[in-house]
């Protein structure tokens, strides 16, 4: 142990490093782990839209009409579609973590199934949601 630690002064010991992302083969569970984090961060900044919307509603009909028009423009709808997808994806990913916390579905088959279901579920629920909005409008 002491022999292995002999090194030039002011240098760090050559410890083994942990393998990082690029070492691993790309898998569904890895992709959904990354997607959970990215969708969470998208929802994080999405609160700005909630604040703007509530602020406009609290400050009168003129401001509300302005913001509603902005949210209803093509770029507004694009942002809202992506944001709703992120929130739905993050919510389903959260349910996956709740199931894992009970010790269930940790085997390879269940993990893969959950990961694929998370993406399939979030995409189809987002489409369903906007179909509902489109048909209601």
């Amino acid at each position: 142990m002491i022999l292995a630690d002999i090194r030039p002064a002011r240098t760090l010991p050559q410890r083994p490093t942990s393998p990082h992302l690029e070492i691993y083969r790309f898998t569904w569970t890895m992709a959904m782990s990354i997607a959970h984090r990215i969708s969470g961060m998208a929802a994080y900044f999405g609160i700005i839209l909630l604040v703007v919307w509530l602020g406009a509603a609290a400050s009168g009909p003129e401001n509300y009409a302005l913001v509603a028009g902005l949210f209803g423009s093509w770029i507004g709808i694009l942002v809202l579609v992506l944001l709703s997808w992120a929130i739905i994806h993050h919510a389903i990913g959260g349910v996956r973590h709740m199931v894992w916390d009970t010790g269930r579905s940790l085997d390879r088959t269940s993990r893969m199934l959950w990961a694929q279901a998370t993406l399939a579920g979030s995409v189809s629920l987002t489409i369903l949601l906007w179909l509902l909005i489109y048909l209601g409008a």
């Binding site: 984090r37 994080y44 602020g55 509603a57």
Partner: protein, 126 residues
């Protein structure tokens, strides 16, 4: 010979510098946010395209205003702890850690307070 337990040696040396409190808060708020998020999406779908008077009348009702208020409260903690986790993973050391931690706290609770303030303002009278 040092009389320290192994637990005392490792305590406080994790990426976050502290224990499992944040993890627990994340779990509690995620359970609360699941039904509240379903509610919020439903509310926004109903109010899409509605005029100002309808929006104010709807949010003034406790049936819709109270769950939205709860969502804002739970989400404030959830987003703060979530971004703290990201900071712990990518900026665990270095000069940017403390500013990032502070900015996250200010943004999370600042934005949430603004949302709660506007909701109370429009539902409790202009």
């Amino acid at each position: 010979m040092v009389s320290r337990t192994t637990l005392a040696r490792v305590r406080g040396h994790g990426a976050s510098g502290s224990g499992t409190r944040e993890y627990w808060h994340m779990k509690v708020t995620s359970y609360a946010l699941l039904p509240l998020t379903v509610f919020l999406i439903g509310l926004l779908v109903t109010l899409a395209g509605a005029d100002h008077a309808t929006v104010v009348a709807t949010l003034s009702s406790p049936v819709f205003g109270l769950p939205l208020f709860l969502f804002i409260l739970c989400n404030a903690v959830h987003m703060q702890v979530g971004m703290q986790n990201v900071i712990d993973d990518y900026a665990a050391r270095g000069p940017w850690r403390k500013p990032a931690v502070l900015a996250n706290i200010f943004f999370s609770y600042g934005a949430s307070a603004a949302a709660a303030y506007f909701l109370l303002k429009l539902s409790l009278g202009q």
